[in-house]
Symmetry: C2
Subunit: 435 residues, 2 copies
Amino acid sequence: MARKSARPAPAAGPTVKSFFRVVSTDDARRLIAATEPIGAETVAVADAAGRVLAADLLAREDMPHFDRANMDGYAVRARDTFGASASVPAYLELVGVVEMGRAPRLRLGRGQAARISTGGMLPAGADAVVMVEYTDEIEGNTLASHASGRTVEVQRGAAPWEHVLRIGEDIAKGSKVFPRGRRLRARDLGALAGIGTTKVRVHRCPRVGLLSTGDEIVAPAAKPKPGQVRNINAYSLVAMIREAGAEVIDYGVVRDRREALQAALANALRDNDAVLLSGGSSVGTKDIALEVMQEFARSEIVFHGISVAPGKPTILAKALGKPVLGLPGHPQSALVIFDLFGAPLLRVLGGEAAADVFRPQRTVRARLGRNLASKAGREDYVRVALEEAGGVLLAQPMPGSSGAIFNLVRADGLVRVPASAEGLDEATEVDVILL
Amino acid sequence: MARKSARPAPAAGPTVKSFFRVVSTDDARRLIAATEPIGAETVAVADAAGRVLAADLLAREDMPHFDRANMDGYAVRARDTFGASASVPAYLELVGVVEMGRAPRLRLGRGQAARISTGGMLPAGADAVVMVEYTDEIEGNTLASHASGRTVEVQRGAAPWEHVLRIGEDIAKGSKVFPRGRRLRARDLGALAGIGTTKVRVHRCPRVGLLSTGDEIVAPAAKPKPGQVRNINAYSLVAMIREAGAEVIDYGVVRDRREALQAALANALRDNDAVLLSGGSSVGTKDIALEVMQEFARSEIVFHGISVAPGKPTILAKALGKPVLGLPGHPQSALVIFDLFGAPLLRVLGGEAAADVFRPQRTVRARLGRNLASKAGREDYVRVALEEAGGVLLAQPMPGSSGAIFNLVRADGLVRVPASAEGLDEATEVDVILL
């Protein structure tokens, strides 16, 4: 009697036959985007780089809060300079110097000017700055009314408010600086400091528990016996989870036994907002993992399989209402799936706007070095090496097995072959997702 | 008597007239690339994400260190399957199951097969794996010589070593994994763990002292009086210095006085590998800063001005042999210059290969939304907002002053107008450097 054997290795527990829900990559993204974000906390702006705003951030003050010179030169009344040119200059009386960091006590009257540096506060009466390049300062009285003894020759007319940053022009008090769900960049912090925002309300950093499965896996410090391999995924995943803005506890390797997995998962769920199961979708673990997950309260299999290569047997479930992501055991698949779906999941959990989390962080445009075959209905991610040839950037698909980890490490990026395509032709322009 | 006044605000000290060396952006990059890197230390691989290799990293072991199945299926002798097809299958005797994580004790003889899962170790005698999809397992004796009582029907011939990752195929012992000067990515750590590398020799993280100058600057927590502004640059620069892989001490604001700057610089140079002077190239500070820098032993003005906008008055000097970078005070200029030249300087100091440090981290291809004028001989970086219009990504140059910080914060990226161009035409394809 012939029997199709779907799993050549013997199963360690009963199989879950009732559920096999393979979703498209679009559906997987939609389901991940629907993940409920975790709670918020208040942190100092100085510590907020990379944190995600939990509420819209409004400007507490006008920026600038005084009319500010944007160039080095002379504060003037614009109308006093109208029509001035190199051949027919305007002559203004120099009545003083604006000191940096102080409100000037002087006040410009008609036909008067004051020296000012970039960032200086415009004196009362002034409504423009003439750049120093279009002026000369002249010693002596060339006008009857002089008091200072110096005259400014203006060789170009200034428009009202030219080279002045007006009150609230950079940002107006009460206006929205950033929306909720935005991840603050390093460069954003100064601007917030500038308007007096010293604390911000942000989402907590998700806490993630990492479990590795696979009876062939040993710790990196161990000397693997024949048939064993070191825990490759965990070292990369720990660092990649941190890059996704989360904190991580690495629980090490769990044996592919029902009881061991259940205890480890219960433990990890108790102390974390989400659990990653490296190798949790692999043959030998998958069925146990699916069954164990479903025994927790508030459990659900969100999907079980994505139409993607590499990494099809990816599992997203919920247990105790918390996301549990089962990654393939193959290192390449695990890392690619973490990039495409794992990091976005953690970022949504951390409150980031779903529209932002699936955008590749870094891409470069290149031409395919050769034809790429692909199965329609499945989104393929192909490892490529980038090379420059005659001023053209070529993306060369890399040969080799998806079981080889250095193959991925040495790749420059991934090229996506859409599910609707049956491949891509040589010389097609593609976006290379840089690794 | 007419006099061209280059500095309308009064100088607080004597001016340095002897030195004014404006360099092209290419020269600035070349001079920065020549910076001597700091020393090395040994760290655990688990902590090495983002660290820079101080020596070539060689593979300590073969990966894999045994011939490994790359698919689920049956280990076979390829020659026993030659010519097999669905209509004319080969029949092999099933002699056992390869357990994960163990060296199989069985040995394949002629006409024999063993069940194997992905990652399993090939038994002696086997030289290929047939995917489970092209097999059926048959109960009973269909061949005379059967011992196990089961037969494997193989419906497709296997080439020698098909679906096997051979010893050293991923990486061979002794071969170079990564060159010196490479910054390790999170994803690289697992592969290193996989070949038993638990420690790596990396450059120390550069220690950077940040001094802010400008008499108008107050701390972010202070309430600025008219004419004063909060220290915008420091908050952003601290976080951006960390992103460049360095540690930072923020020394706060130094008054624009010779003695104050000298004491602060001496203090910062003692405890750090480099010093950043925010506002150090601004009017009112520049001349004092230049003079003070040159009073230290092993001092040199590397350049004083870059043909770039924004940020022309950038200073690179050495004092006590350590780099001192004077950034413009204008927040936008300071941040753009830090991106273009400051971060690369710190990365070279931290041992990263110079070829890598000037490549923008993230770019996207777009079409210019309107003409951009520019001065030939100067490299311009123009703030743009990205918008999608009819499937085309447009880079819209943003109006507004370079003194406005939110203007930069709200920009999506920068477009570079090369020094050789006198501008760029609307609809030109450009690389947008994402912020």
